[in-house]
């Protein structure tokens, strides 16, 4: 993985010093709350409902064992022994003391981590396919480009005060696991003929006005990546609305100008870029790619998985549901379910973090990934190690065989932690876990992505859930609106609302009715999403609102 140069290290050290000084001035009354606000946000610090919350960047979702140990230690020392994985490959601490945050950040800096630009109206942490580098059929690993973008966007002098937040995602596979079409800029590595380059999407996003992005350039040569981003960002910085924060995202600008006009502005700007704008030469790309190379053992005898734990049904179930094929023979990708029944989706205790870090050192080349689906991944596991790993994961309560099923819920923190929330989301996840505790039934239902947000800001990405649940406030009571048919994979679509919001106590029951409808109407092998796309929402609506 990418290791910091001395310059990288110096920059984050100086960022800690800067933030320490800003916090000191704020606490000493020399800096107003309003001035401090934009400064702390740019360092990922929110003043939340109960206590300050800090968002730590996990660039493109990749962590070393050492980093995960440090994240665990920090949760013990500064928080209540746990941390929360977000839907954008960040990690959050929820119970901090403001005056301790500078010390926390300096501990993070020791392991090359930071909270820079995890919030605020700037270019945020760049996310990637969580199976980057190990997925079968990948065109190229997106992470070297993510790191190049991370560096370019860090403390960018021109683009630190944009109209609104700005999110970039990169994928290197045709199967899009990075949700590129719902990002401000989505970058897909493509190979239309012999040359590899990028297809650039712009103006996608969730939140109040969910929009699928549009293609602004079908093919961009690699060396132009940063200059093209610069052109888009400059047009956005100058033309994006600043009078209304709900209309300030780039998607609104793209929609109001129309994609043709917006493209013309960007292309003209791009042609005009002065000679000093960044060009990515081959050697820069190559040396960045080298940093992400791993050395695998060559495993000759193809161990048959069927010979492992031969009669152990629980192992086989886990193997089928929570592991995936790796591009290298003899290896397997293992997803750790951070969605155990009764636990808040995406929450990890310090004990679990240390445990996973140790398992990564032992079984997965010392690396861990976090997915935007709020799970952890050990991506480099030898097939022969799977039984030992599985047993250890059971001890850590991270082996629930529910990956990709209904209970692998994506969920924002909601009313319990978030000051913007209309309704609780964790309790809904809980309700659903209680209602659907039969693992055979879950497996029979097959792949279902259930996503829950506690308000219109859509941090739980409910618009693109096969089933989406949105918390709404009705005269001080918590109600929930249900959408069906959203998806963020290759042919992205937004879910459709099935009808009036549902009372809190009835959400899981309603989901049950929806799933019964699916089971009774599906063709053999037809997934939930396929059925909804085929027959529309009407039959579901009729079943729910009888």
């Amino acid at each position: 993985m990418y290791l910091y140069s001395s310059n990288d290290q110096q920059l984050i050290n100086e960022r800690v010093d800067q933030f320490r000084d800003q916090t000191r001035r704020f606490l000493g009354g020399q800096l107003s709350a309003e001035s401090y606000r934009s400064l702390r946000l740019m360092n990922g610090l929110y003043l939340q409902r109960h206590a300050p919350m800090l968002r730590v960047a996990i660039p493109y979702g990749l962590l070393s064992a050492k980093q995960l140990h440090k994240l665990a230690d920090i949760s013990t020392k500064y928080d209540k022994n746990y941390a929360h994985l977000t839907t954008r490959q960040n990690l959050q601490y929820n119970w901090l003391k403001l005056e301790e945050v500078p010390d926390l950040l300096s501990e993070l800096a020791e392991v090359q981590m930071h909270g820079i630009q995890t919030s605020g109206s700037c270019i945020r942490n760049t996310t990637a396919d969580h199976l980057a580098g190990v997925a079968l059929g990948e065109i190229e690993d997106p992470r070297p480009y993510c790191e190049i973008i991370r560096q370019w966007s860090t403390l960018h002098p021109e683009f630190s005060f944009l109209p609104r937040k700005f999110k970039i995602a990169v994928t290197g596979s045709t199967h899009d696991r990075a949700a590129t079409q719902v990002h401000d800029i989505g970058i897909q590595i493509v190979k239309p003929n012999d040359e590899i380059g990028f297809r650039i999407w712009v103006g996608g996003g969730l939140g109040r006005t969910p929009v699928i992005g549009k293609v602004i350039r079908e093919f961009l040569p690699k060396e132009n990546l940063l200059s093209y981003l610069e052109a888009i960002l400059r047009i956005y910085n100058q033309e994006g609305r600043r009078d209304n924060k709900y209309k300030a995202r780039i998607k609104i600008l793209v929609n109001s100008l129309g994609i043709a006009k917006f493209t013309e502005l960007v292309e003209t700007e791009w042609q005009n870029l002065s000679a000093d704008s960044p060009v990515l030469n081959k050697s820069t790309i190559k040396s960045m790619q080298d940093q992400f190379q791993l050395t695998y053992e060559s495993i000759k005898d193809d161990l048959q998985v069927t010979s492992l734990e031969k009669d152990n049904f629980a192992f086989r179930l886990w193997f089928k549901q929570n592991t995936q094929e790796h591009k290298v023979r003899g290896y397997r990708i293992v997803t750790l379910s951070v969605k155990a029944p009764g636990e808040a989706p995406g929450d990890l205790t310090d004990h679990q973090m240390h445990g996973v870090a140790n398992l990564a050192s032992q079984f997965s080349l010392g690396q861990i990934r976090v997915s935007h689906e709020q799970n952890l991944i050990l991506a480099e596991v030898k097939v022969s190690d799977l039984p030992s790993l599985w047993k250890a994961l059971i001890q850590l309560d991270l082996a629930t065989p529910n990956i990709g099923t209904l209970t692998d819920v994506i969920c924002c923190p909601g009313l319990d932690f978030c000051s913007l929330a209309n309704a609780s989301s964790l309790s809904i996840a809980d309700q659903i876990n209680d209602q659907f505790d039969d693992i055979d039934y879950l497996h029979d239902l097959g792949e279902i992505k259930l996503k829950i947000s506690g308000c219109m800001n859509a941090c739980g990405h409910h618009h693109v859930g096969h089933i989406g649940i949105l918390g709404v406030d009705k005269k001080g009571e918590e109600w929930y609106q249900i959408t069906l048919g959203g998806s963020v994979e290759s042919s992205a679509s937004l879910g459709k609302i099935i009808g009036p919001a549902i009372a809190k106590g009835k959400v899981a029951k309603t989901i049950k009715i929806i799933l019964n409808t699916y089971v009774s109407l599906r063709d053999p092998d037809e997934t939930f999403l396929e059925l909804v796309r085929r027959i529309g929402i009407k039959p579901f609506k009729e079943a729910v609102y009888v």
């Binding site: 920059l11 100086e14 109206s121 002098p157 021109e158 630190s160 960044p278």
Partner: protein, 163 residues
């Protein structure tokens, strides 16, 4: 609170932080309403952007140092023909979080080849001096009465950068 350019009294003497040093500000704003006679003056005068464009020959004929004050919505590429005539360009930050003027600064320096004083006015926070400097701004006038020597220490919180 932000005060706009015009509200700076044209005769008041104030200080400017320029190239890291505190200096007396010798520039004053031209008041188009008075339509004053420029023939008898030789001091630095800052013309509003639109006034400059509409009365370019009159402005260009002025004998003293010439400056232009832009709002962050002005199309600064229109200054391109006069880039070598201008001794000062002011760009405005009406609120600290409005980042449009950063792009203006970048373009003036990198695309239009402007090399004289580029001054930030408006709501300038000391924590932003670094970014502004890196976009090519080399002079700062603050709305609030702050200790400029102290502020100058915030020009370079970072010794490294990526861009």
């Amino acid at each position: 609170m932000s005060r706009n350019l015009e509200s700076r009294s044209s005769e008041s003497q104030s200080s400017v932080l320029i190239d890291g040093r505190v200096a007396e500000d010798h520039w004053r704003n031209y008041c188009p309403i008075d339509h004053e006679n420029l023939n008898d003056r030789k001091d630095g005068i800052i013309f509003p952007f639109e006034y400059w464009l509409e009365n370019r020959s009159e402005c260009l004929a002025y004998n003293g140092p010439k400056g232009v004050a832009c709002k962050n919505t002005d199309d600064i590429s229109q200054l391109k023909p006069y880039i070598n005539e201008l001794n000062l360009i002011c760009i405005e930050f009406p609120i600290a979080t409005d980042g449009r003027a950063y792009s203006q600064a970048h373009l003036l320096r990198q695309r239009h080849g402007y090399t004289n004083e580029l001054r930030a006015v408006g709501e300038i926070e000391i924590d932003q001096l670094f970014l502004m400097t890196r976009c090519g701004i080399n002079a700062f006038v603050f709305n609030e009465d702050i200790d400029l020597t102290q502020a100058s220490k915030y020009l370079t919180p970072f010794s490294v950068s990526y861009q």
